[in-house]
Symmetry: none
Subunit: 399 residues, 2 copies
């Protein structure tokens, strides 16, 4: 099917906006109650839903809880299971590190250890990003023969390390024990071809331990998600879209870069994103606007705060519709119900508004309303196809 | 996808109950009328539906009428077309015969023939099971060089034969002509590798004919569904579920054993099944409770009697909910509308109740109500994924 789409793609200068509220889908707090989205006062989203086709989507499949990367892959029209992306790569791309084929990246947490080497805090007291940057600088003194090493701060206590050299592979287990009171694990190869990388990572941890000895609370480090750069066709190759991403959070920049999108940096608020949209309107076909905090508040278990984030996005919406995009898609990459404090497998409401659609009877943007919408429950990756089609960007198939 | 699920499976001690009313789906007797399920007074099922996510499922695909085995395979999370199970294997497993790889099993009907060898009754006057057992004993005198032969009674006039030896294969046609007034067919190979088995079956029929000569009305036998044991991963391998089956009917025991489930024997009523559920509650993760007679009454064309069977299951339901399973799924393996006196391809209503679900607006358990439920029409095999997910037994996919 993806080969077929590629053949049918047309270019016509139309504009598509994808607005993602991360972790949008929710659950009621009590039986028969309303979800976060159903609770939120969202006059602008409701008005858009009334003019739109609505439904629910599943990014990966029935019963599968999506991580952020596969959830977004689906929204961008990719089959997520075809492109498993390791955390290390997402993190490196997120901070704009120019990964090369053969590089191995891993997420690093600065952590606290006691005198016996046991982890007492997996997040080093949540040191600020500036401190993290300073420590990355310190660790650039690590020298490993035959390997170039790059350390970059991500956010707070999180950083990313990239190893570059011959014969490296991502077949290495996490060193993060995911618990306190125990020592970090030794880097261990999961396959023969990971052995060299496990040695390199072991040497890195050893030297880092010495360099961080007096840096309490950040006197240790934990590694997760060893990953290599996968080969992924760009959105332009697949869909003929020149695409730009406007996320605030680094991880989503990483995902966007992986798919060949340009990324607008240094955005910190919805106002910034609105301005970036205006400033870049003439330069692209596809605009990815991402709001992280719906997911963050869901993960916190703070129902009311998640409602408030949805309402913020609703207030932002007019600055998006004011651009008169040919197609607007509003949805999430997965559900993060506040009652679960975690991602979940529940389908995610979406709306798609364009001139040539067949509006359904949905009059509000919410889980149950969208369940009665025109589309029912669909795979997440087809949303881009609807968008292309309603933007006049897909030719007829067959005579 | 099934490889993915396997990787994501977690174990957490949660309990999942699958309650199957065989042939549940139905049709109205007249245009605009109600189906069997819609007609039945089902206060307990309706209350459960109100707290559940509802929908319709298709075990195999649009327009395909499922047999019992593939219908159940789908419910247990298997793609039915990947595992075609011959009737002979189902029958042999059903009576607990320890089939081995390479064995060939076939269903046997005792039948009545006239002096010219023409079949006058394909069911031998529906002889009782005891008589069937006695005749199986008689037929154990059959001797075929190089082949071990096992006969086992199933129920009434039905039995199963198993051939064990070198070079056997299930590539043999039925001998049952599916009509009276004609002779049984000769066993015929459908492929070269079935030739030896066709010879063996021919010799078996010949010797059996002699041994049964004076056993009117059971003086002949018809063979159907030559089958070999397929290799199927167990529910434990695929889904990490230690599973137990509580059917009354032998065939469903066979299916359960094929998938590595333990089987509770000697259950004859819903009361027995309720007791078995209580007695085994601490020993398993997954409980398959099966009610056969909804299908039987549908096959009989007895609308009212099928309604009554559904009401019996409704009355049984409190003994199931009293166990407080983490997830309850109630559905059927296919439709058996009384007006058709046969299985049909119509989708089957289902409900799934768990703590962390998003209840829809379904307030009763019925075909039309479920069609408006949260899920629309889904493939049957995904129900197990929803159950695993809502039981907290599937990890997040991807970073």
């Amino acid at each position: 099917m993806s080969e077929l789409i590629k053949e049918l793609v047309l270019k016509n200068g139309s504009k598509i906006v994808l607005l993602v509220m991360d972790g949008l889908g929710g659950l009621p707090r009590e039986t028969g109650g309303k979800t976060e989205l159903e609770t939120a006062r969202t006059p602008n989203l409701d008005a858009l839903a009334a003019e739109a086709e609505c439904g629910l989507h599943l990014p990966i499949g029935y019963g599968i809880t999506p991580g952020s990367a596969p959830g977004h892959f689906a929204l961008f029209g990719y089959e997520p299971t075809e492109y498993p992306i390791g955390r290390g790569v997402v993190a490196a791309m997120g901070v704009g590190f120019p990964l090369r084929a053969g590089d191995v990246a891993a997420r690093v947490n600065f952590a606290t250890r006691d005198e016996e080497g046991r982890i007492t805090d997996r997040r080093a007291g949540r040191i600020p990003t500036e401190k993290c940057a300073e420590l990355c600088e310190v660790l650039s003194a690590v020298k490993i023969p035959g390997v170039e090493l790059f350390m970059r701060p991500v956010k707070d206590y999180r950083a990313v390390v990239v190893f570059r050299g011959q014969g490296l592979s991502d077949q290495v287990e996490d060193t993060d024990p995911q618990a306190t009171g125990v020592r970090p694990r030794e880097p261990k190869a999961t396959a023969k071809k990971g052995e060299r990388t496990a040695e390199v990572a072991g040497e890195f941890v050893r030297q880092a331990g010495e360099l961080l000895r007096d840096r309490h609370p950040a006197n240790a480090l934990l590694m997760r998600g060893f990953a290599e750069l996968p080969s992924i066709p760009s959105m332009n190759e697949l869909f003929g879209l020149s695409a730009v991403a406007m996320p605030v959070y680094p991880d989503y920049k990483g995902i966007a870069r992986l798919l060949g999108m340009d990324v607008i940096d240094d955005l910190v608020s919805l106002e910034d994103q609105a301005r970036a949209l205006r400033d870049n309107w003439d330069r692209y076909d596809f605009f990815f606007v991402h709001h992280k905090y719906t997911d963050s508040r869901g993960e916190d278990g703070d129902f009311e705060a998640k409602v408030a984030e949805i309402e913020k996005v609703d207030a932002f919406l007019p600055s998006l519709t004011a651009m008169n995009p040919d197609v607007i898609v509003v949805t999430g990459d997965h559900s993060t119900p506040a009652v679960m404090k975690a991602h979940s497998s529940h389908p995610i409401p979406f709306l798609i508004r364009a001139e040539r659609i067949r509006p359904d009877e949905t009059r509000e943007f919410g889980e149950r309303a969208c369940a009665r919408g025109a589309w029912g429950v669909v795979p997440g990756k087809i949303l881009i196809r609807l968008a292309l089609s309603y933007a006049g960007r897909l030719a007829k198939f067959g005579a």
